[in-house]
Point group: C2
Chain length 225, copies 2
DNA sequence: ACCTGAACACCGTTCAAGT
DNA sequence: ACCTGAACACCGTTCAAGT
């Protein structure tokens, strides 16, 4: 409760992507390093929330009371810092995907989840763009720090979409990644061109409408021509 | 033919927004100023095409053979430079809107135009984001240099959408600006996360599908409940 | 093992001095 | 009326020197 947004547990022993060294086992850090890392995360969260994802890094280091070199030691790129901040939210989205897989109406499950994805991508200015960029950079050598989180999100989305498709409620010809991109771009639009309060819901409803199949009219055959 | 992309005629006497001084009449410039301005535009077009909309301005000035101050004198902001470059394309879009208003199927006219809008917004990296940002910044005091172009685009889109709506082919509850934003975000997605060649068409088809009403089934009444 | 901050690079923007 | 470029500000990133 002290900080309502502890982004990552500082030592997640089974974090699949945290370890640069022996994968899987993130060795214990020195006490001051742990403290510095956590301070940086706390300050960065505030800075990104206030100023967006491009907030100056030296500001963050200074406000956290560490040298700029320490920031770079813990987070070799801005993206790595962003990833550490959103990792908790990504985990939440994965969990929610499993929960919502139990929804009676599979399309409603997908709809709710996409809405949570949009909220997630709206956490700070610039995040939606970073997410989409990570999604479109799978084949590069310099792997982005957000790639793993991005893959998790796409996986979670895919599970719900597979279910909706099996139930005949999702169009067979839509690309799963397209749906994730479109939903993320709803967050991006709302961020750059906020027009009114219903905008996010309206746009998301449009996306869902476009990719879904109406509830079966008679449960037998429904020729669509 | 010397430069296949002369972005603006250097002295458009009736350009509605070019004149900072007496509106409407852009006074004749000195010969060297005209030349410098045109050189800057030529170089900027190349630079933006190659490196995206964030290409360094001093590079552009140097390659154009002028001092950086000259660039700023002609284009007080990066956006002003971008606007000058796309103004021709915006005019084209407005003309095309009028032409396509003659299409037999009003929905197809809209579809074609939106496809051209996407191509326009894809001209250089970063442009789609700039367009959406301009569209969402109408109420600010520091008016963006792209605002006028953006308004023209929205106007052109609105004409085609009004026509489609009158013909009963566009859903009554969709916001015109939403459609423009969604189409532009298609360009943005393709730019950041290019997955395959059909992506743009696929995404745009989704958007159209979401906002359109299927061709009237029997021409009489079609209760939607 | 970790921290520090000076040093460098890069880019945007202004403005005094010129023609 | 227009051009120039030095000067300043700002930010990212590295790395030698420390503990």
């Amino acid at each position: 409760m002290s900080s309502d947004a502890t982004p990552t547990s500082t030592t997640a022993p089974t974090d699949p992507t945290a370890g640069d060294p022996a994968p899987g086992a993130s060795r214990p850090r020195r006490a001051d390093a742990r403290r510095n890392r956590q301070r940086l995360l706390d300050v960065a969260l505030t800075a990104f929330t206030e100023q967006g994802i491009d907030a100056p890094l030296d500001d963050i280091a200074r406000r956290a009371g560490v040298g700029i070199g320490t920031l770079y030691r813990h987070f070799p790129s801005r993206e790595a810092l962003v990833d550490a901040l959103i990792r908790g939210g990504v985990d939440d989205l994965c969990r929610r995907s499993d929960e919502l897989a139990g929804t009676a109406d599979p399309l409603e499950g997908l709809a709710r989840w996409l809405r949570e994805l949009v909220d997630h991508a709206s956490r700070f200015r610039g995040l939606a763009a970073a997410i989409v960029a990570a999604g479109g950079r799978v084949h590069e050598r310099h792997e982005g720090a957000l790639d793993a989180s991005c893959a998790l999100v796409h996986g979670a989305a895919g599970r719900l979409m597979g279910r909706a498709r099996e139930a005949g409620r999702l169009r067979g010809d839509v690309d799963d990644a397209d749906v994730v991109d479109m939903a993320t771009s709803v967050a991006w639009i709302t961020e750059h061109a906020p027009r009114d309060d219903q905008q996010t819901d309206r746009l998301l409803a449009l996306v869902l409408d476009a990719v879904s199949v109406p509830a079966a009219p008679r449960a037998s055959e429904a020729r669509e021509r």
